[in-house]
Symmetry: C2
Subunit: 378 residues, 2 copies
Amino acid sequence: MKFSINRSSFLKTFGDVSRAISSKTTIPVLTGLKMVATTAGLTLTGSDADISIEAMIPEDSEDNTLTVEEPGAIILPARFFGEIVKRLPEDNMTVAIGENLQATITSGASEFTINGLDAATYPQLPEISSDRSLKLNADIFHQIIGQTVIAVSTQESRPILTGVHISIQNGTLVAVATDSHRLAQRSIDLEGVNTDADFIIPGRSLTELGRMLTDDVAEVELRIADNQVLFTIGQTAFYSRLLDGNYPDTTRLIPTTSNTRIEFSAPALLAAINRASLLSHEGRNNVVRLNIEVGAGRATLFGNSPEIGNVEEQLSFNKLEGDDLEISFNPDYMKVALQGLGQSTIEVAFTAPLRPFTLVPSEDKEHYIQLITPVRTF
Amino acid sequence: MKFSINRSSFLKTFGDVSRAISSKTTIPVLTGLKMVATTAGLTLTGSDADISIEAMIPEDSEDNTLTVEEPGAIILPARFFGEIVKRLPEDNMTVAIGENLQATITSGASEFTINGLDAATYPQLPEISSDRSLKLNADIFHQIIGQTVIAVSTQESRPILTGVHISIQNGTLVAVATDSHRLAQRSIDLEGVNTDADFIIPGRSLTELGRMLTDDVAEVELRIADNQVLFTIGQTAFYSRLLDGNYPDTTRLIPTTSNTRIEFSAPALLAAINRASLLSHEGRNNVVRLNIEVGAGRATLFGNSPEIGNVEEQLSFNKLEGDDLEISFNPDYMKVALQGLGQSTIEVAFTAPLRPFTLVPSEDKEHYIQLITPVRTF
């Protein structure tokens, strides 16, 4: 195998593929980057067994200046090879495989020789047929990921909750995540999609996928198999395993009525929560308290730490209606929920001090809802 | 005590003073920020017992909008108070001390109450007379710090080597640091300075001081006492303890003759060293090898790791003279030395494979020298 390539275009594709490569894996071959050079181009593959990414740099593209002199395949230590490529002196580099799987990397007056592994020892990627496939707008899918993945569980005690449940039925996609303390649910209407699907994908897979959905990506193709899903973004294939099991029925968790409703600017409420949590973080319970007096037209947020002190803040709001209320909650859940709501105006709706409350964007209450379970403080 | 102030001008001065405040101190009062409000202004003090910084915000300055309503003094938990000030909602804040040393911090609709400590319990800063004082150009002093502090020892086994030895005699300042593996020495001629001095200042003190010597600082005043030194920068006083003991005589370490001399561009050599160290870092010894063949006009750098591979690079140089040489050294010492030499052209001079070699800027060989001890590899 021998090829020459412009370093920066190599590094861009290598950057995508490395998202799947972990140095912590227990399978030594997976710390490597697999490279296959053919007359069509250069294919890079990385995998951590949960996620696999395969990206192709075509030989005929103008901006990558790839020249394959001799087809072949090799596995090189990924982290190390990346460090070398980053530091080479010239814009271009040549990679050649010699005897004993030794790779020689040359650029200017610098020549590295590193030991590779036989490409045949690399695990095969799953084959996923195109029976169940659909196309999604990349922007919207990126949004859905960002708005739901924030609520997945990070604890392995209930593995199913570390995933996002995505169901596509009758042209509507619903994505939901919960760690049993809070929940985020986003839905969209898909135009011209007739494929139904129901799967649970690890939150980490979606997070990594989201990072690849940059502004220049227009569309993502999705193909679903029994225990694998494949997202195709241009020349890049992103495989993720799916979680096995039944996702809890979350529809009955979302309250349909409320007794107190208040409308805030999301960033202003976030700033107040950040201040109050300065003190709650120092206390043992990490809880802030919200007091709503409808008659007086007053909403007050309290944070307290017995050792250090306390904070009290009158919150500004747009609208307030319903019953008086005093409720306590974990400010960190609220922060994450508000970050998911961005710059919008939001409605927070409460039923009772110990019942979950909801946050929805005022302008579109149907398609995005977040739910937070309060904390009992007495 | 009660004062109002613009938050960003408070935070700027607080940022300077916090350099001296460590959360790891074993003396609880030193985790605090001392504030003293008088009719003249607001004085902030921080200290970690090694370094103390005192800065004054005058009441009459236009840009800080300080108003002292009631003089007084308090100690507040520094890290925590800083976090609060950063997150307050309005541009201005008011700090008032009430009963039981409780401080109330208000800004807009937000009100924090935190517990303070009696300012009288804060350690007194040393009094340093103006007998032995001199003024230094801030730019040049900043340079001297950056060029020498890189060679101080980070190990406490020989505490004296954690400092920089500064001696001022007959109008010449010489600063030298060594950790016994490498050495950096910088000298300057001071105009109009008649004060002599000789002291060893902790490297960490100089590093922190250097960070305060920003572009807008023109001059530093230096006052020396027996075991303390005071640097005055505008309205800010920076105190450091001095190290006690005799600094080793370093003059005899610097070779006066050489057998091989080679001239490099410092940044180009640094890039090559960075590449070679990629492999040496993976090996057990962290050593790179330089081979100089004067007849062939060739200088080659080698890095090697038995597990991963090796690198070989032909170095470009401007001039080469003297004897052939093969020498091995720690690339990290070389990196740090080259960073100290910046963008300049440098001369590296060798005596023998096991003797220290020197690096000097080609354009001024007299005032800055770095020395590195090679590594025996056979």
